[in-house]
Subunit: 251 residues, 2 copies
Amino acid sequence: MRRLLPSAPVTSLRVTYHLEVEAAEAPARAAEVALEQTVEVPRSAVTDPMIEGEVMGRVESLEADPAGGFRAVIAYPLETTALDPAQLLNVVFGNSSLHADCRCVDLEAPIELLDAMGGPRFGIEGIRKAAGIYDRPLTCTAIKPMGLSTPALADLCETFARGGIDVIKDDHGLADQQWSRLEERIPACLAACERAADATGHRALYVPNLIGSPERVLRALRFAEACGARAVMVSPMLLGLPFFWELCQRH
Amino acid sequence: MRRLLPSAPVTSLRVTYHLEVEAAEAPARAAEVALEQTVEVPRSAVTDPMIEGEVMGRVESLEADPAGGFRAVIAYPLETTALDPAQLLNVVFGNSSLHADCRCVDLEAPIELLDAMGGPRFGIEGIRKAAGIYDRPLTCTAIKPMGLSTPALADLCETFARGGIDVIKDDHGLADQQWSRLEERIPACLAACERAADATGHRALYVPNLIGSPERVLRALRFAEACGARAVMVSPMLLGLPFFWELCQRH
């Protein structure tokens, strides 16, 4: 089933790496990265024209970087990523991240990859809808520090809400610590916003911070929804991009 | 419910940061990191003795680094991590990772944290058991490159198995790409090892690479188990450490 020529133009993901190498080594180093991130075998071992044309990374350009070293643009066939967020990290960073002389500095994604990864699930319109504010800039603040008890954090929340803040989020350091358990904090802060709304007519949006392994985050998400939370926050690089992607796609 | 003094000795996580700063700035910079990774408010705003004693990071030592700059050891109360893998990353790297002059270089975990995070689920004994080899060093190789069809990869697998290799794993770049779908590759490579075992009496251990978002990896794991796979591999930094931790703990 070997095809002698690529059957169709291959869609590519273009990644720019800064290579901290001398001019004499630059072309070979760029070619090495292109191989290592895809086929990961010596160039001489790639004898199949299909693999050469439709699988292997290809150095598209190589130029001196004004800051020193070189910039190499490498095109990876899109199918190497399997359109999956974890495998995308693998192709872009995989083995190259082990080498101190190679650093990813840019990425140009084809539309097929952008479609598969998706963007913000709700965007600013979704935040405005959850906050119920459409006609002016939104104000936002965070409750902190970790170590405060749930009643103290809820008091802060009520103070901010009465002061007219639109969006009040947990500090990113507020997790499920003994000082303020998530399952106490969410209902307490939502109630604090309701009390402020009863007094002022302005209903602030409380945004709990969900952090943990996937099971913990999904359990906390269900709990927050059941309590009536209209928004939650998560930190993509702490949860891991693949789980973050799944959260945005499915929940 | 405010306590005036810490009620019990606080167990700490000790993290060493390299600070690329001048001697005159080093003490203030180290103190700033300790604050930012925990309470994330100005020092003057921490007036509660409990928060000062049991929540706030504390600079334990600060010394010149022979390589230039300084090394600061900061003790974080263990409870700041909530014994959760995502929150652990938050406390160690969180905001400090945004600053080019600060780099985490070491970490000393108390036994309570090590117990909560766990270590290898099966270890070398588990690999020996899955491979059925106890009395000599194990041999291992990988099938590659991406782009080969499932039959070609299974052929490689059979060749290696007949040659006496004990553990044959998917290259880390083999995902669920069109060239070799995971649901074809797993049974094909397991069957290849069985054919080799019938011929030689030596049953190699085929280890499929599971990569993707959590749902995809868990689906692939169930499929691999149903096919009779005795081991699988995953890449922690591609899946994200919190999901990797959950996989090791629960599956």
